[in-house]
Amino acid sequence: MNTFLHTLTDNGELFWRGFKTTIELFLISAIGSLVLGTLLAAARVSPVPILRAVGMTYVQVLRNTPLTLIFAFLVFAGPKLDIGLEYFPSACVALIAYTSAFICEVVRAGVNTVSPGQAEAARALGMTFPQVTGQIVLPQAFRSIVPPLMSVLIAMLKNTTIAAGFSVVEAGAIPQYMSERGENQFATLIWIVIGFLLLIAPLVTLQRTLERKWGVAR
């Protein structure tokens, strides 16, 4: 037990640095992918066919590409194209590009849960597209969007570990450093798991609270 504790306390600065980077990566990518994902969803339900096609192609391609491949492309092929990003921005771009495809799908599915009668009634009142979506459909869709949206974000938080394979010193990279220091790997990994559980717990609690609160309202 003592060694178990010492694994953390002796390398506190490494764990701290790792999880701090993870959180930064998570926050930047979360905001980025929420914005891009929502825009994509808007494109996918828009009246302009070419916008819909662009949105659909993006989602189809990105959803079927492994995230690791996107990372590898940005880190190894990027510099060959003279778009050499640093490692951290590359990781953000990869996570945003990948996650926004899933967020787009969640938002679009949420829009579909609102009964068509709502939009029809709004249109019958003479509301325009921005009014129908902004005042009638999206506020209602939001309730059913939030729980799956949280799932996607939690998944993204876990996916930040992949950046470890591409020179970003975040939580997933800790084992590699600890291996060089000859520390106990099992204890290290358990501490990382605990760290992630601590990060995920508030998100899950929030998700469940919102689900309970809004689940009944419908």
Partner: protein, 293 residues
């Protein structure tokens, strides 16, 4: 839903949509042109960079990578299905002594980042000088994670069969096992098949994590081929080829899942409502709706 959001466009809306369409087209063309310009300016498709791909040895290398990817995916699928079935059954058990630990196991493995799970089978044996093949480190990690997600899908499938079915089965005197095997399962399988297939797409994509622990799968092969200096580092081409392979296989499987779902929703051979495919899709990127659902 999409088409009820707006009225049939009148003259002004048509004009506006046309403007948006033109702007989008311009945007798309601009992006495409920029990408093409970058590709050409840095001469990605030069003779030298392409030569390598005409060699059978290199083609074989890519093929071996693909086979390694598929091998890991197939083994992990088989193990995950077993794991999922066992834990779904345990979670549906009437005995709290079985149900509660199984619930904890399933929730825990879904909450841990997959890469960290894989590291458990990679770094820990490494430290104790035990040799465990990277294939198995990858497969075991994939099994635990996807097995747990599948357990949730199986459970959802069983629970999707209306109560009346099992009540009727108990009423005619069937035992617990009989009810499960001859009434619930056959109906549940139909309901959850699309979700299972789409989870397998996730599993296939996740085999790419093997790259990080140096399992020689497709992505690893692409890196090897791309990093050859004597061919001027054809990273771009090799990654494009690999991306096309992944996208091709995964799209085909996803399309199959959607086809199954469409077919199932017409089927009269099950009373169960289909397990939503998107639950698996949300599970996708990593951890289903969590740790909750």
């Amino acid at each position: 839903m999409t088409d009820v959001l707006y009225d049939l466009p009148g003259p002004r809306a048509r004009a506006r949509n046309l403007v948006i369409a033109v702007l989008t087209t311009v945007g798309v063309v601009a992006v495409a042109a920029y990408v093409a310009y970058r590709l050409i300016a840095t001469d990605q498709f030069s003779e030298l960079r392409l030569t390598q791909f005409q060699y059978t040895a290199v083609q074989q290398e890519l093929l071996n990578g693909l086979l390694a990817t598929l091998k890991a995916a197939v083994i992990a699928t088989a193990l995950a299905l077993v794991f999922g079935a066992v834990f779904a059954a345990a979670r549906l058990s009437d005995h709290a002594l079985i149900r509660v630990p199984a619930t904890w196991v399933v929730e825990l493995f879904r909450a841990i980042p997959l890469l960290i799970l894989i590291f458990f089978f990679y770094y820990v044996p490494l430290q104790y000088k035990l040799h465990i093949d990277t294939l198995w480190a990858l497969v075991l990690g994939l099994t635990l994670y996807n097995g747990s997600v599948l357990a949730e899908i199986f459970r959802a499938g069983i629970l999707a069969v209306p109560r009346g079915q099992s009540e009727a089965a108990y009423a005619i005197g069937l035992r617990k096992t009989q009810v499960m095997v001859s009434v619930l399962l056959p109906q549940a399988v139909r309901a959850m098949l699309p979700a299972i297939v789409s989870q397998l797409v996730v599993l296939l994509k996740d085999t790419a994590l093997g790259f990080i622990i140096t399992y020689p799968e497709l992505l690893y092969a692409a890196k090897q081929i791309g990093s050859r200096g004597s061919f001027d580092f054809p990273y771009v081409v090799s990654y494009l080829i690999v991306a096309a392979i992944y996208i091709g296989i995964c799209s085909a499987l996803s399309a199959f899942a959607y086809w199954l779902q469409k077919r199932m929703s017409r089927s009269r051979r099950t009373a169960a409502r289909p397990v939503p495919i998107d639950q698996a899709a949300a599970a996708e990127a990593g951890g289903v709706g969590g740790v909750g659902a």
